[in-house]
Amino acid sequence: MNIGFVIGVFGILILAHATYSTIQYRSYLKILEEEFSSPPFNVVVELILGLVLCLWAALAVPGKFLSIHPDSEENRIVSLPANLDFMIFNHRGRALPTDVNMKLKC
């Protein structure tokens, strides 16, 4: 999680730097009195790099992914719950000896 977090901070810094360079480039163009057609190549590279790093951080930082496969260990259903709403009490457990000492003290 720590590494992912550092990478995320780094990615945001790179994006901020790309913004700053674009603004600078545009003011430079204004001085030269030229039309803005597209950002310079190094800014585009910086943007892509920032995007990749931020994506990585967004996937790594929040936590583990959960499986969506029905047959994975977390999701595989091995038994149904006992139907407790329909439980009946005159079963064979009645004949078994129970611990007589159990008492609720209060």
């Binding site: 029905p70 047959d71 329909f86 009946i88 129970t98």
Partner: protein
């Protein structure tokens, strides 16, 4: 639903609690969450918390949930004195509660005072005629008295109103199976598969019922549902693998002579057999010879 990893966790906690290793409250919570019936253990360990005033006060409001859980467990274990005391404590806290009234009814049931329990439930239903749990208690009371036809009638009436209650559908299916009314049971399982299509155990139960009914068409459908179970469990359900083998052999016997699509079915059969063999080798190596003998016998007969 009890998942595979949850089952492992439950067994681990149960072991730990039985050996006095703490984690009792977590165990009781898990039992409640998974709705498993471990009444003897819940009673023993739940009482140990309730009798220790320091531990009990630590639970805060959850204390009353534990009282209810222990009361039901005590009724199930026929420790009626404990149950009575728990219900008394609950009644003191919640004097007008219907939930406590239900527990009293259950206590009467456990004592075998059916008429009194019936009266208690009826008066509770007058208060709130839509209380599902009390309707279910009335049905199970009929079942407990051995009056299965009344239970079926009650369940059918109940399901006319609450069609989405899959627990009730399952109960009805199990009652029908116990009476060998397989067609009716199959209908209930179809309903269950529709409402919970991702639960492999419904597919499995449906396939079992169809296999029991017999006949070429039913066997073919049963095989498909066994295959669906295998699909949903990743091949870790032994019963479904056996089901495939048995269905294939039964089909082979019925369609002797006119063997269409024989090739495909034998492929599925041999795949299931190898999966079974692998599973046995992994989990019970000393029983592999038994398995091969059984499968060989099935093929011969």
């Amino acid at each position: 639903m009890v998942g595979a990893s949850e089952e492992v966790e439950l067994n681990r906690l149960e072991n730990q609690v039985d050996n006095g290793g703490g984690g009792v409250w977590e165990y009781l919570c898990l039992v409640r969450k998974l709705k498993v019936r471990r009444s003897d253990k819940v009673l023993k360990h739940g009482l140990s918390i309730l009798n220790d005033s320091k531990k009990r006060s630590k639970l805060g409001g959850e204390e009353w949930t534990l009282y209810e859980q222990v009361a039901v467990a005590a009724i199930d274990c026929q420790c009626l004195d404990v149950a009575k005391d728990c219900i008394k404590a609950l009644q003191k806290q919640f004097p007008e509660s219907r939930r406590v009234g239900r527990l009293e009814g259950m206590l009467l049931e456990a004592k075998g005072l059916w008429a009194d329990a019936e009266k208690a439930y009826s008066s509770l239903l007058e208060d709130n005629p839509l209380d599902q749990v009390i309707h279910k208690r009335k049905i199970s009371m009929a079942k407990a008295q051995g009056n299965v036809s009344a239970a079926i009638e009650g369940l059918n009436k109940y399901l006319d109103i609450y069609m989405a209650d899959h627990d009730a559908w399952r109960e009805l299916a199990e009652i029908y199976v116990s009476l060998q009314l397989y067609r009716q049971a199959a209908f209930c399982y179809e309903e269950l598969i529709l409402s919970q299509p991702t639960v492999p155990l419904h597919h499995l139960a449906y396939a079992d019922v169809l296999y029991t009914l017999g006949g070429v068409e039913n066997l073919q459908i049963a095989k498909k549902y066994y295959a669906a179970t295998i699909d949903l469990t990743g091949g870790k359900n032994t019963r479904a693998l056996y089901g495939i083998c048995l269905c294939t052999i039964a089909l082979g016997q019925l369609t002797k002579g006119r063997n269409k699509e024989d090739k495909e079915s034998s492929e599925l059969h041999s795949l299931a057999a190898t999966a079974l063999g692998k599973d046995y080798k992994y989990r019970a190596p000393d029983k592999v010879s038994l398995l091969t003998a059984t499968l060989g016998n099935l093929k011969l007969s």
